[in-house]
Amino acid sequence: MCPDSSEIKGLKRKDLLGILELEREEIELILSTAVSFKEILERPIKVVPYLRGKTVAFLFFEPSTRTLNSFSLAARRLSCDSVSVSASSSSVLKGETLLDTAKNLEAMKLNFVVVRHSSPGASHILAKNLTSSVVNAGDGCREHPTQALLDLLTIKEHFGKFDELKVVIVGDIEHSRVARSNIWGMTKLGMDVSICGPPTLIPRDIDKMGVRVYYNLKEAIKGKDIIYVLRIQKERQAAGLFPSTREYIKLYSITEEVLEKYAKKKVVIMHPGPVNRGVELAPSVADGMRSLILPQVTNGVAVRMACFYLLPGGTGEGRGMGQL
């Protein structure tokens, strides 16, 4: 039962808060581990006993069905028990601060805490105050690391490589944690990353993150291997960031016609979901041959399993009893 020392690897951290702080080797380790986990998802009995007796809490301050389900499934596939603390039933509305919540979670002796919150850095507050491993499932507009990891796995499976692949991320970059996490991950893996959207939705100085900026969709998609389309939220229009959904569609919607005319033949389309059909993405493109949207969803479970596997998960004994 003693594997060689070369056979033992892990992440160099207690928590997964963002792709920014991960090293390239750690990203590759998560992806290769996820590939192994995909086999389990094909079995008649899709459960392994690895995390038996361990507990994960899902702390979702923002509504999310897809991400929560994906994490929940990943935990179950590893035999991990879970509790869900949703915003409506949590004490936040009663004036409890995130720090109070952290202290309470710590007293519950958990191994993992998966958190989604509207404030950037919220997962940092939990990570600092918990002995459990914290997984950031989206903190405001900052990062959504497991989404980027599942996207990278999907790219790896489709292309078999990352180097020199050209990707353009299209849409509301400013408010997208998915865009930020993917920009970090893709650039770390050697991809050529561009972004495209109306100037009002492109955050200041973003070129310093190592990306090329386009305002014109037709120019942006030229020669790209991947078009990664972001969800456009209608409330941004209300905030005056673009004049109308109609005009957005005219300028930035990915349609068959635009792809035929300007994109590479073998281009693939990705989207973090849920798709606003007919807004950022034409239904025929979302469901078409080029779409990798459904493989992305499958890979979400495998990647999240890999994260649970690779993170230390604390001792589940809270502070003072176990060592980190």
């Binding site: 601060t97 404030s119 950037p120 850095g121 507050i125 405001g140 507009c141 955050p203 973003i206 993150m209």
Partner: protein
């Protein structure tokens, strides 16, 4: 009467343009004598020492230390009345004393605000350990709609008016405020921020972009600085710009001063020493308004201080309770305390790197605010109040504990140089 001799000190006093070796004799509340330390006088000093020994007195040997006039802070939030859990006039003035101050100018955004005689009286009569000069509100309730009874406020002791914390968005009201204050000779202190542009929580730039936090662009400040300069020029009134923080704002003030506009401005210790890179830690002690800016802006603040575009260093001491600061970055209130670290910050970032000498730094902490607010403070000389501080200019220290009721300092754990060892206020000695 109690007697104190500070011996072997180097006295640096920009009020009297002094920089030299003196023994300072203090009797009761006032300075009795400044005795030069020339060679012949040294002998005389020895004789004097023998004679004095018989009486009740204390001697402080200040070899290697500086004796400086007590500092004046033009921008303090004392929180009383309203948020006594965060700071009181007593705790705030204790904090000021520890930082080497003899006087603080307290802002009007208390609860209720300083927009009527009663509150001014309340502040004037509250227990304190150093001087407190209140600032009155420009508009009733700091709402930016109607001028408050500024005449009453000035009569009761207000030395300036400001809606600090809330910018006066309505240009017409700002114009009228500047004009109206001319009769009293007081400045209008402007919190320059265009609220329509500034809905963020930190400086807008690469750091806010990476962190996904909404940004406050530098132009939100600059647009208002420009407007207020234009209004001050047009009305020929006295304008003071609070906590200036961007390169663009500083350039606007520099040009306005050259053109003869009656404008002055201040910078905070944190804007001259820290940048938005600090926010990457999500530590809310780096959240303030205006936000920490870029390194380019920080260098411009330093340059502005060196070439006297920026008249003074003012703390914007803003105490906040732990339970409020320990929130998510975008939900926490803005503001940091500063009275106990301001001078050290100036020494560390301006004097130690050789950008200015101690006397120039002290002008920014004493003479300039005194002049702009027409206060009756006159430095260290015989007959004046013994309001001074004894400072070890090279002492290396790391701020951890504070006398302020709040602990929201961005300098906790940071190495600073220059420490106030004693403060005297009206002859009363405090040893820190």
């Amino acid at each position: 009467m109690s007697k104190l001799i500070i011996k072997n000190a180097r006295v640096i006093d920009p009020f009297t343009d002094t920089d030299g070796a003196f023994d300072v004799l203090i009797e009761g509340e006032r300075v009795k004598e400044m005795r030069g330390r020339g060679k012949s006088e040294e002998r005389k000093g020895k004789r004097e020492k023998g004679r004095m020994k018989r009486k009740e007195r204390r001697v402080i040997n200040a070899r290697g230390l500086l004796v400086i006039p007590g500092l004046v802070d033009m921008h303090t939030h004392l929180r009383e009345p309203g948020r006594e859990d965060e700071e009181t006039i007593l705790s705030g003035t204790m904090s000021a004393l520890k930082g080497g101050y003899q006087a603080v100018v307290c802002m009007a955004n208390t609860e209720p605000p300083v927009d009527n005689l009663g509150i001014v009286k309340y502040i004037r009569e509250a227990e304190r350990v150093c001087d407190v000069y209140p600032v009155g509100a420009v508009t009733k309730g700091l709402k930016g709609v109607e001028l408050s009874e500024i005449g009453d406020l000035v009569n009761a002791g207000c030395v300036a008016v400001s809606d600090d914390g809330m910018p006066i968005m309505n240009s017409f009201i700002m114009r009228r405020a500047l004009e109206y204050c001319k009769q009293f000779g007081i400045p209008v202190i402007s919190h320059t921020e265009d609220l329509n542009l500034s809905s963020g929580v930190m400086n807008e730039g690469i750091v806010s972009t990476e962190l996904g936090l909404p940004g406050i662009p530098s132009c939100a400040e600059e647009a208002m600085v420009a407007r207020d300069i234009l209004l001050a020029r047009f009305t020929e009134s006295k304008l003071h710009i609070a906590h200036i923080s961007t390169k663009g704002s500083i350039e606007l003030v520099r040009r306005a001063k050259k053109e003869g506009v009656n404008v002055t401005c201040e910078a905070t210790p944190h804007h001259l020493s820290l940048t938005d890179e600090c926010v990457r830690s999500f530590n809310t002690n780096y959240k303030m308004n205006p936000p920490l800016r870029t390194e380019v802006d920080r260098k411009a603040v330093i340059e502005g201080l060196v070439d006297d575009t920026i008249d003074m260093i003012a703390t914007d001491h803003a105490p906040h309770a732990d339970f409020e600061k320990e929130l998510e970055f975008d939900r926490a209130p803005s503001g940091v305390i500063g009275l106990e670290t301001a001078l050290a910050c100036g020494i560390t970032y301006l004097v130690k790197p050789g950008l200015m000498d101690m006397k120039q730094l002290l002008r920014k902490f004493t003479v300039n605010p005194t002049r702009i607010l027409s206060l009756s403070i006159r430095g260290i000389s015989a007959g004046e109040y013994a309001n001074l501080a004894i400072v070890d200019p090279t002492c290396e220290w790391i701020p951890q504990k504070f006398l302020s009721k709040s602990k929201n300092s961005p300098f906790i754990g940071k190495k600073l140089y220059g420490k106030v060892l004693y403060t005297l206020y009206k002859g009363k000695l405090y040893e820190w």
